[in-house]
Amino acid sequence: MLFSEATMADAAHTENTTPLKLTVKDFQSDQDVRWCPGCGDYSILAQVQRVFPEFTHKKENYVAVSGIGCSSRFPYYMDIYGVHSIHGRAPAIASGIKMLNPELNVWVFTGDGDGLSIGGNHLIHMLRRNLDIKVILFNNEIYGLTKGQYSPTSVIGQITKSTPMGSIDHPFVPVLLALGAEASFVARTMDRDPKHLQEMMRRAERHKGSAFVEIYQNCNVFNDGAFFQYTEKDTRDDSVVYLEHGKPLIFGKQKEKGIRLNGFTPEIVNIKETGYSISDLVAHDETDSTLAVILANMIHNPSLPRPMGVFLGIGRPTYEESVQAQIAKAKSKKGEGGLQKLLDGDEVWIIQ
């Protein structure tokens, strides 16, 4: 069996750092939380504040960066360094922060409008460069802060304030976009599954490189119930399949169903009643980018369950490491730069 990057990174992580005794309270700022009552953002904030103390970074080294939108208010509620910037630009600002000081632990909090529409360009380029930045994208398939227009993830036909006859835009699949941008870590989770959400935060934190986590987040004011099929008790078991590295894809109330690959096409098989067994099912491999794309595409077949978990987690040099390496190489080759020599250039003449 393949060892996932997660397991190996985990070990390295514990060895190299000294745990600090931080608590949930250390990460709660003095600001009143101003999201609408019942918003899925509350759960995300709670889970993030719960897992952050488990990590071993110094508190002063955390930086949260956001753009504009409901999700982008997030940094105000975390008692860490934070920048609530302008619409869509958080990945670019975070990139500058991380490049300047690679010691910092930089998290971007964004939404489907901020991250995928106005800021789509910055997001994909940050992901391909693989800066060690965590991107938490709250996907509620709607514009909340501007009061209810359709977003780049809204489904076709969705009635919103700006689409009275239904949206005609083909939506983005955020994890597919991240995979297309060659992100080295891509995951999906849900606001109403706190334990899984926490686990995905832990996994993102452990990943060295750009980590993209999409969170299905309920906007109870403008798009209530968009993800209830996956989050609510009576439907979720048949509608969600959890991805776990090295394990077969099994789901259903009785764990009776599994996903098998027919060529490149995933299909549901019943492992209790038909002739199929667990060994016929596809076993998840977080290091297989082809499989990741197949799983991400399951969204296009409504009869298939929605995969949750880590689609892809692979190691690749981080951008800031490469930046530092080139500086080190230049210094070892040319020596530490001397200012006067630089000002002088190649050809100096003297006038007496």
Binding site: Y76, G96, G345, W349
Partner: protein, 614 residues
């Protein structure tokens, strides 16, 4: 035949050929050699936006003008004395820049029927009397180049590419310049990589030089003695290089890591290129996905405690507006270098203009004051960029530094500063959680503290939403907003207390004050000098600081009857002056993508002063 040598005070030469003919390289080589000889000089590269337009066409012509002399050289010259035309298209497009009875050196081999047709000539100008008012030297540059390389077994295409070195060699002979600089250049550039290329270019260079010596068409050589520059150490420098060095120097003197976020754009890209080669200085350059990403990364770098810089041109500055406002709201240091070019929209990407002044001062939503400075000569880009960094850090504000295409690519001798004597750029980061308030202010500068992530106990949140005074918390309070708008403005006004008082070149009162800013310095100064030489009383003032203005500017203006503001735009500085000081200034505006013509400014000065002065 005996060759004679004549001494000249100054000369302007223009090299013109196909954009693939290497005219920029030829011009740069001639410039470097001339600089090392101790002449004062000023250059004007004039090239098309197309990288390789079809050979022989007029729109593919690339030019390089150098004005050098033993006197104070302030401009690249209104007109040239000598035109080197490598083909008919170069002659067609550049003849108008040659003074009457000037010299033309022509690559006669390129004057084929096809090339003449492509250039738009209906008959051959070498035969039809078209050039009767000029001294024409027809040289078989292509053929002589080919002869020089006959035994090397090279392709015709390759040989054709060497002919610019023949022209260079010939000009070196004609103006008594040594070959050493260019020999060294060729050896360093090609010697190791491709010895055959080095050998070919060296042969052609020498062939050009020897041709001048041997043949009888050139009977006179010219000598231009070294200029009487102030004593010191000198180098030749181009504006974009000077800007890059200014940034590195500011980084060293402040102890701040230099971070440049940039997106390639003509004519600013060389700043990115230069800095990307200086990694041994710890410089981090980031070619972003777009102009917005570039500035946002720079803002991130400043937030994290670096010297965040972005370089661009007018269209890029337009894209960066929203992010500049974020930096204004976050009150972080940020340097934005705008290498202006002809606009609007894509405009004239390779031509110069100074029409981004109002964009720099006002081009953002709401009340968004920031500091604007401008460079006046290629070498002055160093001082101006350095000053921009100093102000940005001291006042925790974005500073826009305006240069332009002419400054960026133009060159001049630069008296190299002593690195130890550059002004200090003190930086302090707060560390005490007990006293830290994100939007408290330094009483002198009104700057807020620069608290950087990684500092224990100073965790705080900042953002684009309006801040409460002192705490920096989000505030929608009407009076607080009014206070913060005024405070941000007052902070920028405080910069006027920190910059030198404006000086006047000439009398401090009188009939006429000429005011300039940016790259028009040389043209205006020459015009002022020339009119003074004819007995006119003209004072001159050139602004580096455009927002805020030096605090004594008003007093100066009120002492003159007439104020003339020459600009390469449709009247921008003049609007600021009229609005702020209510003075009846008049403009002189030419928007041709080229430096102002000295003679035309002189005419304007004459027109204003009429017979009443001097």
């Amino acid at each position: 035949m005996e060759k004679t040598t004549r001494t000249l005070d100054e000369v302007t030469i223009r090299f013109a050929g196909d954009s693939g003919d290497g005219m920029q390289l030829t011009g740069t080589q001639f410039t470097n050699t001339t600089a090392v000889l101790g002449n004062d000089l000023s250059t004007l590269p004039d090239f098309p936006a197309e990288i390789r337009a079809p050979a022989g066409t007029t729109y593919g012509v690339s030019g390089f003008q150098i004005h050098f002399g033993s006197t104070d050289i302030l401009t690249p010259g209104d007109n040239c004395d000598v035109l080197v035309a490598m083909n008919p298209a170069a002659l067609m497009t550049n003849l108008k820049t040659l003074r009457s009875s000037g010299t033309i050196i022509i690559n006669v081999d390129a004057f084929t029927d096809k090339n003449l047709r492509m250039a738009g000539y209906t008959s051959n100008p070498l035969e039809d009397g078209h050039l009767n008012n000029y001294q024409v030297h027809k040289v078989n540059i292509s053929k002589l180049t080919s002869n020089a390389l006959a035994d090397m077994n090279l392709s015709t295409r390759f040989i054709e590419k060497c002919k610019n070195f023949f022209a260079l060699g010939l000009m070196y002979w004609l103006y008594n310049r040594p070959l050493e600089q260019s020999i060294k250049f060729i050896q360093e550039k090609f010697g190791k990589k491709d010895p055959q290329v080095a050998e070919a270019n060296l042969r052609v260079l020498k062939a050009g030089f020897n041709y001048g010596e041997t043949v009888e068409i050139f009977n006179t050589r010219y000598e231009v003695k070294p200029a009487k520059l102030p004593p010191g150490r000198y180098r030749n420098i181009m504006g974009n290089v000077a800007s890059a060095l200014g940034l590195v120097a500011a980084s060293r003197k402040s102890g701040l890591q230099l971070f440049l976020g940039s997106y390639p754009i003509t004519p600013a890209s060389d700043i990115l290129h230069e800095l990307s080669q200086l990694k041994e200085f710890g410089v981090k350059t980031f070619q972003a996905e777009d102009e917005i990403g570039a500035i946002c990364a720079a803002i991130g770098a400043s937030y994290a405690g670096g010297l965040g810089v972005t370089s661009t041109s007018g269209p890029g500055l337009a894209l960066k507006g929203e992010a500049i406002n974020l930096a204004i709201m976050l009150e972080l240091p940020l340097v934005v270098i705008d290498v202006q070019r002809g606009g609007p929209s894509t405009g004239l990407p390779t031509k110069t203009e100074q029409a981004d002044l109002l964009q720099a001062v006002f081009g953002r939503n709401s009340e968004s004051p920031l500091c604007v400075v401008s460079a006046s000569t290629p070498a002055d880009c160093f001082n101006t960029v350095y000053e921009a960094c100093r102000i940005a850090v001291k006042f925790m504000t974005p500073v826009i530094c305006l240069t332009d295409g002419y400054l960026a690519n133009g060159a001049e001798p630069w008296q190299i500063p002593n690195a130890n004597e550059l002004p200090d750029i003190p930086v302090s980061f707060p560390t005490d959680p007990a006293t830290f308030k994100p939007y408290s202010r330094n009483p002198e500068t009104l700057a807020r503290p620069w608290a950087i992530p990684g500092t224990v106990g100073l965790e705080h949140r900042i953002g684009g939403l309006e801040k409460e005074d002192v705490t920096g918390n989000i505030s929608y309070d009407p009076d607080n907003h009014d206070l913060m708008v005024r405070t941000r403005a007052a902070k920028i006004e405080r910069i006027a207390e920190d910059i030198p008082l404006q000086t006047v070149d000439g009398e401090s009162e009188g009939d006429l004050l000429v005011i300039g800013w940016g790259s028009t310095f040389g043209s205006i100064k020459s015009a002022v000098n020339n009119t003074r030489a004819r007995g006119m009383a003209v004072s001159f003032l050139h602004l580096r600081y455009l927002n805020p203005f030096p605090k004594n500017l008003g007093e100066i203006l009120y002492k003159f009857k007439n104020i003339l503001v020459p600009e390469i735009n449709n009247g921008q500085l003049i609007r600021l002056l009229r609005a702020k000081y209510l003075v009846p200034a008049v403009g002189f505006n030419k928007i041709r993508g080229l430096p102002l013509v000295t003679e035309e400014i002189e005419e304007k000065i004459h027109a204003i002063l009429g017979g009443n002065n001097g």
